[in-house]
């Protein structure tokens, strides 16, 4: 969304799965970073990109998807957003690239995600509730999500 907010993410060490840690200076930036992390995860294999460009499943095609999810708190909203991205990747071959619009209102999140149709690996089986967290502390927002891969 490019409005000067800062966020960073890293993949923490986890023996069996993937643990995503996000730190940001605004709540919305956490969602943006989560989308970037998911994008990196399912589209960082040059071989996959090469296959996509050869038209293995669908032509490279910019497109958008609207996402609306609900959950009792922001941590589970984040899990729902990532779960929806994994679902779209698996069922439609949608590779997310940018969060174009985001509206969070209590227990509901509405987003428009810009991306493209490709042949992303269905790497993420699920978004777990293990260690799931999304809180503010001293003006910094931090989130943790463990993905089953």
């Amino acid at each position: 969304m490019g409005d000067g907010r800062h966020a960073r993410f890293r993949w923490a060490e986890h023996t069996g799965e993937l643990e995503l840690e996000i730190e940001a200076d605004a709540e919305e930036a956490v969602y943006e970073a989560a989308l970037s992390a998911m994008s990196e995860l399912i589209d960082d294999d040059p071989e996959t990109r090469a296959r996509t460009r050869e038209g293995a499943r669908a032509p490279v095609d910019a497109t958008v998807r609207d996402i609306a999810v609900e959950a009792p708190d922001r941590a589970r909203l984040l899990a729902e957003l990532l779960g929806e991205l994994a679902f779209l990747a698996e069922t439609e071959g949608f590779v997310p690239e940018e969060l174009e619009r985001l509206a969070v209102d209590g227990q509901r999140l509405d987003a428009t995600v810009r991306g493209r149709l490709g042949d992303p690996p269905h790497l993420v089986k699920a978004v777990t509730y293990h260690r799931l967290a999304f809180d503010a502390d001293d003006g910094r927002w931090r989130a943790t999500v463990v993905l089953d891969v």
């Binding site: 993949w11 060490e13 986890h14 023996t15 069996g16 799965e17 993937l18 960082d44 294999d45 071989e47 996959t48 296959r51 009792p72 779960g83 679902f87 698996e90 069922t91 992303p120 690996p121 269905h122 790497l123 089986k125 699920a126 978004v127 777990t128 509730y129 293990h130 260690r131 799931l132 463990v146 089953d148 891969v149």
Partner: protein, 459 residues
């Protein structure tokens, strides 16, 4: 880990008094070397969390290949007493009925000879791999319902995929009673329907092997015989069933008066509407997984037909198929239990069990022993068990380099992803021989054969 003490030659325990919320002890099967490896991550803390589940009996038990997971550690067996003990979707895992199937070919490695390369190639052509590559099977909604209720039997009877003999050599004949397609969400169907007969990604594989050492004359295996080991599960359908029910049970923990140390352990009494609905959906996903491995085995037989002829394909025999992520209602002594096996394999006396090693190393065929019934609700390990993160493995080796190393060892490799290959490097796993040695010394199972890889198709 405070409170961890040795209670047997290869058995360790953390008593229930170690934490106020533990209802039973946490028990671990391991030798000195493996217990040191197990202590390196959060597996023991997660095992103690499992010991808090309402209705759990005897102990939360970890197999020697246990490692940190989410909620349950991977490599755990936990039994709850019915009717009111809980069932936990996370205690089965997202890949419901992930499991292994072993096929025995009517040829030896030397008889296969130079045709091995072509056989591996043909398998890679017929078994879609990598991730969600679409299946060649297209099922209508009604046909999918049949698979959810009847598992591989639906493929045998309606699609001529597999044989009655395959069903005879499958855990529970490939069908858990009580499956209800109505409990499987539309999202789960949407994910899974196009994926029947596909391998998936991560640590899933089809491996061509040979019997390197026959240790006991069981299951009609012979020295140097070529075998094919299939490792896959319920694909997106099972993943979504688990997702749906973790969320549903998490939202109703207060209603059931359940407090948990980890939200991923979300659960409900097995006799409650949520518990019954999950067991019906999980059974459907488990049946789908057995059908999935049946369809993959069909692809392998087609490859055998192309390379070795029709007679060899017909004589390709299923040794057994066994799950390692499932919850089953079983009677042990005078109790009816819900036995959760998460990264753990049923090992009833006389039953075949397959323990895949890491890529490039050996795998084992075991036979369940009475000691498993007495000690672990009839359960043993499921593999070598990860010892290193996926990122850690990628830092140590590149996929292309690993591919060259395996090829130099005489192992033909087909994988769509170099990244995925690196993440499954042999050094990222514990020593499978060490793991098998522990379950043998514990009296849970006995070794039958050591299998060595000669080709691998990886997801």
């Amino acid at each position: 880990m405070a409170g961890l003490r040795r209670v047997g030659e290869v058995v360790w325990q953390i008593d229930a008094g170690a934490r106020a919320d533990m209802r039973v002890p946490a028990r671990i099967f391991a030798d000195d070397r493996l217990i040191d490896a197990i202590r390196q991550d959060d597996a023991l803390e997660q095992l103690q969390n499992v010991a808090t589940l309402p209705g759990i009996v005897e102990a939360a038990m970890a197999m020697p290949d246990v490692h940190q997971g989410y909620g349950f550690p991977v490599g755990t067996v936990a039994a709850t007493e019915l009717p009111d003990g809980v069932v936990s979707p996370g205690g089965v895992g997202y890949d419901i009925n992930c499991g292994v199937r072993l096929l025995a070919l009517p040829v030896t490695r030397s008889e296969l000879g130079a045709r091995k390369e072509r056989l591996v190639h043909e398998i890679s052509r017929r078994v879609p791999a990598g991730t969600g590559r679409d299946s060649r099977l297209s099922l209508s909604g009604r046909e999918l319902d049949r698979v959810l209720v009847d598992g591989p039997r639906a493929l045998v009877e309606h699609h001529r995929i597999g044989t009655e003999d395959d069903l005879e050599h499958t855990e529970s004949h490939g069908r858990i009673e009580g499956a209800d397609p109505a409990q499987v969400s539309d999202r789960a169907r949407q994910r899974g329907a196009p994926q029947l007969g596909t391998m998936g990604s991560g640590n899933h594989f089809v491996e061509v092997q040979h019997v390197h050492r026959l240790l006991a004359p069981r299951f009609d295996l012979r020295e140097d015989q070529v075998t094919v080991l299939i490792h896959s599960g319920s694909r997106g359908l099972g993943h979504q069933v688990c997702t749906d029910f973790v969320k549903r049970m998490d939202a109703r923990l207060d209603e059931h008066g359940i407090t948990l140390p980890d939200r991923q352990l979300s659960c409900a009494p097995a006799s409650s509407p949520d518990g019954r609905a999950y067991l019906a959906a999980m059974a459907a996903a488990a049946n789908f997984a057995w059908a999935n491995r049946q369809a993959i085995a069909h692809g392998v037989r087609q490859a055998v037909r192309t390379v070795l002829g029709d007679g060899a394909a017909r004589a390709t025999r299923q040794v057994y198929d066994v799950a390692h992520n499932v919850a089953k209602v079983e009677r042990h002594g005078d109790r009816e239990l819900c036995v959760h096996r998460k990264g753990a394999t049923r090992a009833f006396p006389g039953q075949a069990v397959f323990i895949p090693g890491s890529m490039g190393t050996c795998s084992f065929v075991l036979e369940g022993r009475r000691g498993a019934i007495d000690q672990t609700f009839g359960t043993v390990c499921h593999g070598a068990g990860r010892a290193m993160s996926r990122a850690g493995a990628r830092k140590r080796v590149q996929g292309a380099e690993l591919r060259r190393t395996l090829e130099a060892q005489g192992i033909t490799v087909r994988s769509p992803s170099s990244r995925g290959l690196a993440e499954e490097a042999p050094f990222a796993y514990k020593d499978v021989e060490n793991v098998v040695d522990v379950v043998t010394r514990a009296g849970l199972a006995a070794p039958v054969a050591e299998l060595r890889p000669i080709g691998v198709v990886k997801g």
